[in-house]
Symmetry: C2
Subunit: 226 residues, 2 copies
Amino acid sequence: MKEGPDIARIGTLIGDPARANMLTALIGGQALTATELAQAAGVTLQTASSHLSKLEDGGLIAQRKQGRHRYFTLADAAVGTLIESMMGFAASRGHLRHKPGPKDPALRKARVCYDHLAGDYGVRMLDSFVAREVIESDGENLKVTEGGQGELSALGIDIGKLAANRRPLCKSCLDWSERRSHLAGTLGKALLQNFMEKGWARRSLESRAVLFTPEGERKFLSLFPV
Amino acid sequence: MKEGPDIARIGTLIGDPARANMLTALIGGQALTATELAQAAGVTLQTASSHLSKLEDGGLIAQRKQGRHRYFTLADAAVGTLIESMMGFAASRGHLRHKPGPKDPALRKARVCYDHLAGDYGVRMLDSFVAREVIESDGENLKVTEGGQGELSALGIDIGKLAANRRPLCKSCLDWSERRSHLAGTLGKALLQNFMEKGWARRSLESRAVLFTPEGERKFLSLFPV
DNA sequence: TTCATACTTCGATCGTAACCGAAGCATTCC
DNA sequence: GGAATGCTTCGGTTACGATCGAAGTATGAA
């Protein structure tokens, strides 16, 4: 009867809260097991299994067997782009899931986006890298410049080791609170880890907020000027 | 519990076939009444009314009362962009709604996209306009050039009259079969109308296909070379 | 071999939302 | 005024899918 692409089908796939949680858990780019995804979605393993097979049938995710684990990832970059654009759109309509509260400002300031830094500070860091030509952004993709490698290793980041990983080194990730991009990928992960190892910041126990110490905040801000 | 934008909510809104049909009917940019949308969705007026209020609550559509009619439109351009990107994505996963059949090639060749020409011929026309600098495309948006106005009026298109309309003159619309843009807006509508008035083409009665006569096809192809 | 872990499949329950008939407003036409 | 049109609201039915317990399969460890 009707012609054209079936947007209702992918709408339905994304429309279930459990599946939406799984997909958002996967936009970090890391492969996750069924058990981890069940936990992220807040459902039992059986239910998660059913959701995962639906997402796979729909072409949104892919799985890779490894021993007795099954690692799930987004099928390709297009899925991540779609999810991110939907997040931006949802945010623009005021469809947020969090209840406004005292911890909200902290979340907007700095929080974990799966494994890397997001929020105001995350955006600021990427902006600063681009302004100082440590990272160059040719349209969509991000790349560490030749000169940038030295600056990063001065911070204690071993680029060569990170590049060996199959997960992309740099990735831009749309920030729903700032509506701008921040740095994801293994470099984004390594940087956040670096800050925590130096004692500049630690993860909040109750939420995804990243809490900076006074000294850590001072160093971070001077390291990444606007 | 969870933070971030609620993509599940807009997923659910788009995920219902009736609502998806309504939204796709609206991407042409024209305002439609509840009755027209009910017909497009294939449901009764009561059901349509319920869907429309949900879409409005979700910020996807807007309504305007006019006499005893209510005209519905997409809330803004961002909604159109989202729907189009979802259509492109759905097509890339092979989620099409039409049953493959004899009329399928005809649809890919030329069809109506609400009120303008889409498919291979639609893409070809826009490409040709851009190549000959009748229309210029600065990134996302389309604009008729100074020199282009003469060429269009030679075809029998009165640009001044079209520009008076509140609906945008030029609009690019992503083609799900070609995965490239074609020309929408009042100009796109006027051109298709023009072809049909000249007897070059007519709409198929069973589907959205546009059927060219042998002579019309010859003229069209020579008018819009690749 | 036996046990443990990781996950899928089956089966049954349950809640929600899509659906339409009927009735209720609002606006316009005669 | 009354009738017709356009749409919304209400109420009740129905169907689909999300959920989880229990059982089944596969891989790895002891």
